[in-house]
């Protein structure tokens, strides 16, 4: 059952990701990205990360992607229609990427010859309670700093996007 779930959602993730890259219209890309994130949330659950799975759905698929879609609609961004003049780049980068992927896979295989199987329910340390305990004890300072970071981001966004006062 674990294997079926993994392959199913891994396939959905990869297909959606390819879709993100090849779709011409930004809205299509954005919706495909939501698909990637959703399937990743399932994979997180399989890995025992309950809280992260929920956060993935709420924060990523929910908040951030909504923001994206919002901006796309606000700017009325249409499909890309610029002529393909970057073919040199494609010719150079495509083999590079394939090489990169192959090399990483090779290293992962060589690096973990006896990798454990992922069995759902074997690791239960990812519940909201566990994450919360860690967050408010060992990771308290980084957590507080992220709150400052978000505050700064809010101010930055407001400053950048506001109307120029002449």
């Amino acid at each position: 059952m674990d294997a079926i779930l993994f392959f199913l959602f891994a396939a959905i993730a990869v297909v959606s990701a390819i879709n993100v890259v090849v779709q011409r219209h930004p809205i299509s890309s954005a919706l495909s990205l939501v698909g990637v994130m959703g399937s990743l949330a399932v994979l997180y659950l399989l890995l025992g990360a309950e809280f992260i799975a929920a956060a993935q759905m709420i924060v990523y698929a929910g908040a951030i992607m909504v923001l994206f879609v919002f901006v796309i609609m606000l700017l009325n961004a249409g499909a890309e229609k610029s002529p393909r003049k970057g073919w040199i780049l494609t010719a150079v980068a495509m083999p590079l990427l394939v090489l990169f992927l192959g090399m990483v896979s090779y290293i992962i295989q060589r690096g973990f010859p006896n990798a454990p199987l992922v069995v759902f329910g074997q690791f239960t340390g990812g519940s909201p309670k566990d994450v919360g305990m860690a967050l408010f004890t060992r990771y308290l300072l980084p957590f507080e700093i992220t709150s400052v970071l978000i505050l700064i981001a809010i101010i930055g966004a407001v400053v950048l996007a506001r109307k120029e006062m002449e």
């Binding site: 993994f6 993100v20 990743l40 994206f68 970057g86 990169f100 992927l101 992922v118 970071l149 981001a153």
Partner: protein, 108 residues
Amino acid sequence: MPPIPLPTAVPLTYYLILSAILFALGVAGFLFRKSLITVFMSIELMLNAVNLTFVTFSYQHKQVDGHLFTFFVMVVAAAEAAVGLAIILTVFKNRGTLAVDEIDSLKL
């Protein structure tokens, strides 16, 4: 890669390789797409790929730390999205375009 006869569970490495594939696709999107927004979405894709790695390793070590890193990445991603999209808005307002190729004032 040894053949696996439809196992009940998959090894950890599969997750990692999936993460690598997603990351490579993110890079590809970053390199090949013209629209600033799509480029930005590719970055989000790469971040997600990295998050998957964190959670996977967290599973392997049976520790919650990886989850926390993921959590922080999400926070940063949210902040980044807010600022980044504001920048995109400003760029669009000033230049009237979202094409990456036309935004090349980094060149002297």
